[in-house]
Symmetry: C2
């Protein structure tokens, strides 16, 4: 127990330093450097045990060479920040070390999950919060659940007979949606060529293209549309598909509508911003990751389904050694048979505890503040020299070094600009001062994507990011 | 930070009491009792925040009404125990709060995973530990990976064209294998009727049935065998399929051989017991859950694949916003594109830290000790009045109350015996003294399944279990 308290000492010091802006975000080393053993940090596993003193050193080194994702200047991922209540919740979860599959061994956590999912369904707007849901290991798996459940709803015989029992099924999503929809189409046996990637027009709407598809193509024999994904908060731009327009089409043609709100779902907590998801209550299923915009520690992702019984019907295998019908309690509380997993990690407690601690209004304040900071950044760089950006919820932008500003638009400028963001990012990481994501998209060369989900971020951190980009990039 | 330390105080007290045998394993309540609010424990979520004092009370209540899976008398699941080093590792993991998909934000954890998987492959016996692998959210998902990779190896076009591009594929597993193989066949679009459940004979071998199938049925047009699962440590009996015999057939017919060692994989660490998995080095893939017999905290499951590149080929979608090719480091260290998840929880650190602390020999001692305790139990009840059991690695047995002992064998006895285990289990839970699993299997009525994976268990705890079963069951 003394050992555990010494680890706690290491961890609390780490947390304090993470919130201190004079601490580096990371101390970057290449893989081969770490593998060679930095200052005696030996990653290799041995036959003989190490002393507890050495284990403590290993813990310190692990943190030393890692990345401080809770640092106010870490903007690299949709998930960032380190909520202390959430962290305490996760420590309790590890200590309880149990499994969500039965009420028998996780009575409190199972009930917390049930109540929290109901609350989330109420917030989506389903009558009385009716429906179903489950926490899953991440948004990609949640999205996979949605495709599975859609298939089960329309072609339940596929569970037993396989895909051969269905016609050629096609799925729809916008070209800017998360790649997990494509992954699901490969995994589940649809095939990626049967996922139609809808173009988005100027205002990022894929609905009109969906309409066109149905007008022109659906008559082609053998194609059977079964699933449409509408993205609420795309990964790169933070764009929102027009759910109501898409829902009209889905209802007309009796197609499953899924809303991937992995990133944008958090906006449902804000009276000011939830209008971006107008129509979400018409979805058949929704992915919503509290571990993203709501700042809950990793991992915490929910798949919510409007119709009850489908998750169970789709996944149930009735394993006799876990889901005995002759238990002394009401076994409808056992959750395992609606999951694609057997054992399932307890992801609910940290979220439940944060909700208790902040209240619904606390999450609302957090969301409003994150969007306000994005807005601040947007206005800061809008008219600043050396920046270009398309307007979106996530602030996406190019920094154009002075040497490129006078170049005429064209292939040479594009190619040189493409290399700017990776170079600045690499320098940031070497310096350890801040981290922000970048990527190309479609015909756009590499640009930065700036997101705020960490409550510790202030305007000064946004200012710092811009100053740092200019400091590192001015001579490129 | 003061708050966090107060939570630590609650948690360390909880751990101390968990190891104290005078503490109850659980304080059982029915779902409706907990939902009604036990002694003010209110599970409902509210708009307004709660005070930190109340949050601490919530933490205490959550633990109070939960189940102590680390208690030396909790035998209910294949995963049990609470290793303090592993727990410290999990607390550090939560504090680091990062994601396995890129080296960029998890440099140390990514390398630990790589080295640990290599070590596991060496222990399996693959030359130089070559091959591939990934930690996944549980054994069911690991098994699903194996089926996916097998399909990709033989029918790579399915990824793009869907199951329609392949003939009617069939999968094989024994009737005693884990239900996740069946789940995978449903999820991936094979259909459960295309999973052939092989009977097992007296010595639990499914190999002879597999041979028969190939001799008699494979000629039937359109059936294409693609995957065989051999179980190393079945969930209920702890039985081992004869891997070498099955491998002979798989090699002859060029079929993917998977070994599901979720439960039994740990035996590979023991020179004394690893012979039960003889032939495992001939497998194309292996599932191995350190969170089971090796006592690592939940969750920690690995899928290991002999041929490199298949996981990547099967799952890769090349998402531009995560896996930029123009990063400054060697991007082959990014792991995300071989996963079916996008974000992936850090499951490696606690395992790595335990391995450092125990050494390979420490895991070996732990495994040997668990099996010795099972052996002790087996001999204890073998000739004891009122017990019957089939011989297996997991000790499975019926307790026959005195009132049933004189009954002639037959339907009445069977029906009454079927009710004994659930009744004793329910009483155990009400008393909170111990927990052990039970289930029916095939034509066998409900029997207890006793497994030991917790290092805190001693012979006295085994004695206690038997005494408790007799105390609770004698008047049934």
């Amino acid at each position: 127990m003394q050992f555990l308290l010494e680890v706690v000492d290491i961890l609390t010091n780490y947390v304090r330093k993470t919130f201190d802006r004079s601490t580096k975000v990371l101390d970057f080393h290449h893989p081969h450097q770490l593998l060679e053993g930095m200052e005696g940090f030996n990653l290799e596993l041995c036959d003989q045990p190490e002393s507890l003193e050495q284990i403590l050193v290993d813990c310190r080194d692990t943190l030393k060479y890692g990345v401080r994702t809770g640092h106010p200047r870490f903007f690299n991922q949709l998930s960032s920040g380190l909520d202390i209540i959430g962290l305490a919740g996760e420590w309790l979860t590890s200590t309880a070390n149990t499994n969500m599959f039965t009420y028998e061994i996780a009575p409190v956590f199972v009930l917390m999950e049930q109540l929290t999912l109901k609350k989330m369904r109420e917030i989506i707007g389903w009558p009385n919060g009716e429906g179903d849901g489950i926490f899953s290991p991440g948004g990609a798996i949640s999205n996979m659940y949605s495709v599975m459940v859609a298939r089960y709803k329309h072609y339940p015989e596929v569970k037993i007979k396989g895909m051969a029992a269905a016609p050629r099924l096609v799925l729809f999503t916008s070209e800017h949606s998360h790649y997990s929809i494509k992954k699901a189409s490969a995994v589940l046996g649809f095939g990626t060529e049967n996922l139609i990637l809808l173009k988005t027009d100027e205002s990022d709407s894929c609905a009109c293209y969906l309409v066109k598809w149905f007008c022109c193509v659906s008559a082609v024999q053998g194609f059977m549309p079964v699933f449409v994904n509408a993205t609420a908060g795309s990964t790169v731009y933070g764009a929102f598909d027009p759910i109501n327009e898409i829902a009209d089409i889905c209802e007309k043609y009796n197609i499953w509508l899924h809303v991937d709100g992995a990133w944008g779902g958090g906006l449902l907590m804000s009276r000011k911003h939830r209008h971006k998801l107008n129509g979400v209550e018409r979805a058949n299923s929704v992915t919503w990751n509290p571990h993203k915009m709501m700042g809950v520690p990793l991992q915490c992702s929910a798949i919510l389904v409007r119709e009850k019984g489908l998750l169970q019907g789709c996944n149930s295998m009735c394993a006799g050694y876990l889901f005995q019908p002759d238990k002394q309690y009401d076994v409808t509380y056992d959750t395992g048979d609606k999951a694609i997993q057997c054992g399932r990690h307890v992801d609910i407690f940290k979220f439940w505890l944060m909700w208790k601690s902040k209240g619904t209004i606390g999450f609302e304040k957090h969301i409003d503040r994150c969007l306000e900071l994005s807005e601040y950044l947007y206005h800061k760089i809008k008219n600043r020299e050396g920046y270009e950006m398309p307007q979106h919820t996530n602030v996406c932008f190019w920094y154009i070094p002075p040497s490129l500003r006078l170049l005429p638009d064209g292939e040479e400028k594009r190619q040189r600009l493409h290399k700017v963001a990776p170079k600045i990012k690499a320098m940031m990481m070497e310096c350890g001062t801040t981290m922000v994501g970048y990527q190309p998209q479609g015909d756009k060369v590499n640009f930065f994507r700036m997101v705020v989900s960490n409550p510790a971020v202030t305007r000064s951190d946004i200012d710092f990011l811009i100053d740092e980009i200019e400091r590192l990039g001015q001579d490129l």
